[in-house]
């Protein structure tokens, strides 16, 4: 691992622009989050919250800009980052059991052609215990409630034993038990100095859950400590409708299939600064 751990922020998003079929979804997003923070990515529907997460996880290539985790490219710190997607992103009729899904948290490029070890099994069991799904270990995943399915995904992320957790709306459609389990985990992560970055849509609870906030509306409205971000003016900007000119330009780009950046100005991943390696 790199020596500049203290200095580097947990997450650095640099001038990130992303489009779907040339329709811009994120415009020049630029912010960073310190290590050990519990951060909420907030904003109205369609403001690009999930897209931002997918770009951070490398599941989508940005048109321009780059992301750095723990001061490094994702490829170098993958093992330190774990991702909890939205529950609907998979088919819950797939023929696997709860413990099999959680075990997937222990898979990795270094484990091709190899069975999981006993040590992996122990970690998997502990992750299930911490999310309260150990009694369901042998159930087929379609037999679970929505909240239990969410906890399966969280257990899988825990089994990865990462330092940064990215979660996409884990609170959506879950029961009280699951909500409590997630909140307990957040507290625990915080105590261990881990970073949690969570897409969230409920402003009411955001103040209580998070210490950092990123407020999106296809552009970045504000990022920083939650008290300073969630003020009336910022919320008005985020929820009071889109910027007229910006959305018109976006539509133009999609209609004419125009690139948002000329080639010479596209910023791609640069080697991480300085002393690492």
């Amino acid at each position: 691992m790199s020596a500049n751990k203290e200095a580097a922020p947990a997450l650095e998003v640099h001038n990130l622009t992303a489009t779907y079929d040339r329709q811009p979804v994120l415009w020049d997003i630029d912010f960073s989050l310190p290590e050990g923070s519990l951060a909420g990515i907030l904003g109205p529907n369609g403001s690009g919250k999930t897209t931002l997460l997918r770009n951070i996880m490398g599941l989508m290539q940005p048109d321009s800009g780059y992301v750095r985790l723990l001061g490094q490219d994702l490829a170098k710190v993958r093992a330190q980052v774990s991702y909890v997607p939205q529950r609907e992103s998979v088919d819950w009729n797939f023929p696997v059991s709860v413990s099999e899904v959680v075990a997937m948290g222990r898979y990795g490029p270094g484990k091709l052609l190899r069975r999981l070890r006993r040590q992996d099994r122990d970690i998997i069991e502990e992750a299930m215990e911490r999310t309260g799904i150990l009694p369901l270990a042998h159930r087929h995943i379609s037999q679970l409630s929505g909240g239990q399915q969410q906890r399966v995904f969280i257990a899988r992320a825990l089994a990865q034993q990462a330092q940064i957790y990215l979660m996409d709306e884990p609170f959506v459609g879950v029961d009280a038990a699951t909500e409590e389990a997630i909140l307990n985990l957040l507290g625990e992560m915080k105590n261990r100095g881990h970073t949690v970055i969570m897409v969230h849509h409920d402003l009411q609870t955001a103040q209580d859950f998070f210490d950092q906030a990123v407020l999106l509306q296809t552009r970045l409205v504000a990022a920083g400590p939650v008290e300073t971000v969630l003020n009336k003016e910022n919320l008005q900007q985020a929820y009071g409708g889109r910027l007229n000119v910006l959305s018109k330009v976006g539509q133009l780009a999609a209609e004419k299939q125009f690139p948002l950046r000329e080639k010479a100005f596209r910023e791609r991943k640069k080697p991480a600064h300085g002393e690492s390696d």
Binding site: V81, Y83, P85, V90, F94, M104, L113, R115, Q160
Partner: protein
């Protein structure tokens, strides 16, 4: 008859070879097909099978012989072109993916038929029996063909064994596979190549037109019986093997008959049986469950009626006559018969010279049903803002559904109430 015995005794080495080859390639197609099925790529499999035809015809056109390895190479190339074409169409046009699949299927298959027709008239394809590639003929395979296809089938099975856990993850949640740094692009190529190969080795025995059935039907059938991928793969392999055996048997008995349709017949039979007989999801299982529910409803309604009769007489453990019991609830005679038989069988009711009494267990059960009914009415009126006159119908069916766990929660939520919204007492244990 003699031929049947001949076949079943496996004395003839050619029979043994044909059977072994067909069964092996059926197994590998069925196992590979499970992954295509789980990725919801069943249609792609069909398009792919059809798209192999031009490659096979080309291989024959250029080499002038029916060498299995050359045919496989030709099939590979044309299968990959078809996959690439589908992907390109999806990326660069706004056509729905099923449109791109249909387009590629028809264009490739049409071109293949064109080539085949040309070969039959000009290239000596007639003698080579190229028309077998359309519907398959297992008995026409030579030993060199069988060795080649069998070997490829084995390699496919070994590959799946080796990358089992990664393939499982990739099919279930490709994003997670990508996020933890698995080589997802390679996994996708691997799966696609395996699908192409699994289809290609079957074209001679099953034919391109029906090969998709061998890829997808065993998977769909196995899914009815299994909730684990491992079991599913095993059952699909078993189904494929049975179909392969049936197909080669038919082909041996009637060499003029194409094999593909026979294999499809066997597979469809297995699928049909599964649709009816599968546990939990099968049609019979569903019907059985409906019947059980119906009986529970009748039984509990009878108990409830008895309890209401007791309430009217303000006496418990009393004997009721049949009319006293029945006036509480008007059920058709057959429902009374069924319900009463069930109460008797459970020893919940006693009869003495035309009068009836609930046993201790029966009374407890009756109290439970009435309690749930009244609790649910209370819950509805409190939380769903329903008027008093609208409560009863909802509670009529929910009372049969609520489990002891839900009842506990309901009681806690309502804080152990004494009366329902109609001021009837809620019966707890006496």
């Amino acid at each position: 008859m003699e031929k049947v015995i001949d076949f079943l005794s496996f004395q003839d080495p050619t029979v043994r070879l044909v059977v072994a080859g067909t069964v092996l390639l059926s197994i590998s197609a069925a196992v590979v097909g499970c992954f295509a099925y789980l990725r919801k790529r069943a249609l792609v499999g069909d398009a792919l099978a059809h798209s192999l035809l031009p490659g096979v015809a080309m291989a024959f056109l250029f080499s002038g012989q029916k060498d299995p390895w050359l045919l496989l190479l030709g099939a590979m190339i044309s299968g990959w072109l078809a996959l690439g074409a589908m992907e390109l169409i999806q990326q660069h046009t706004k056509l729905a993916s099923e449109t791109s699949i249909a387009l590629v299927l028809s264009v490739f298959f049409g071109f293949g038929v064109l080539l085949l027709t040309y070969l039959q008239h000009h290239g000596g394809g007639d003698q080579a029996g190229l028309d077998q590639f359309l519907f398959g003929n297992a008995a026409s395979m030579r030993s060199s063909d069988l060795y080649a296809y069998g070997l490829v089938g084995m390699v496919l099975l070994v590959m799946i064994g080796a990358f089992y856990k990664e393939l499982k993850l990739y099919c279930f949640d490709p994003d997670h596979a990508e996020a933890i740094g698995l080589p997802t692009r390679i996994l996708r190529y691997l799966l696609n190549t395996m699908t192409v190969l699994a289809t290609a080795i079957g074209i001679q025995s099953v034919g391109v037109v029906l090969m998709a059935a061998l890829l997808i039907t065993p998977a769909a059938t196995a899914r009815f019986w299994s909730y684990r991928l491992r079991t599913m793969l095993f059952l699909a392999a078993l189904g494929g093997a049975v179909a392969g055996l049936g197909g080669s048997f038919a082909s041996y008995l009637a060499p003029a008959m194409p094999t593909g349709p026979w294999i499809v017949m066997v597979l469809s039979f297995l699928a049909l049986v599964s649709i009816f007989l599968a546990p939990r999801v099968g049609i019979f299982a569903r019907m059985w469950r409906q019947r059980q529910n119906q009986r529970k409803i009748i039984r509990e309604n009878l108990l409830k009626a008895f309890y209401h009769g007791l309430e009217n007489k303000e006496a418990q453990h009393a004997w009721l006559s049949r009319p006293e019991w029945q006036e509480q609830r008007h059920l058709p005679e057959w429902e009374w018969q069924i319900g009463f038989r069930q109460l008797r069988r459970r020893r919940w009711v006693l009869r003495r010279s035309g009068r009836y009494r609930l046993t201790e267990r029966g009374l407890a059960e009756a109290r439970r049903v009435v309690r749930l009914h009244r609790l649910w009415e209370l819950y509805l009126s409190r939380y769903l803002a329903l008027g008093k006159d609208h409560l009863h119908p909802g509670a009529e069916s929910i009372e049969h559904l609520i489990t002891p766990e839900v009842e506990k929660e309901l009681l806690r939520e309502l804080d152990y109430p004494e009366q329902d919204p109609h001021r009837s007492p809620i019966p707890y244990k006496s």
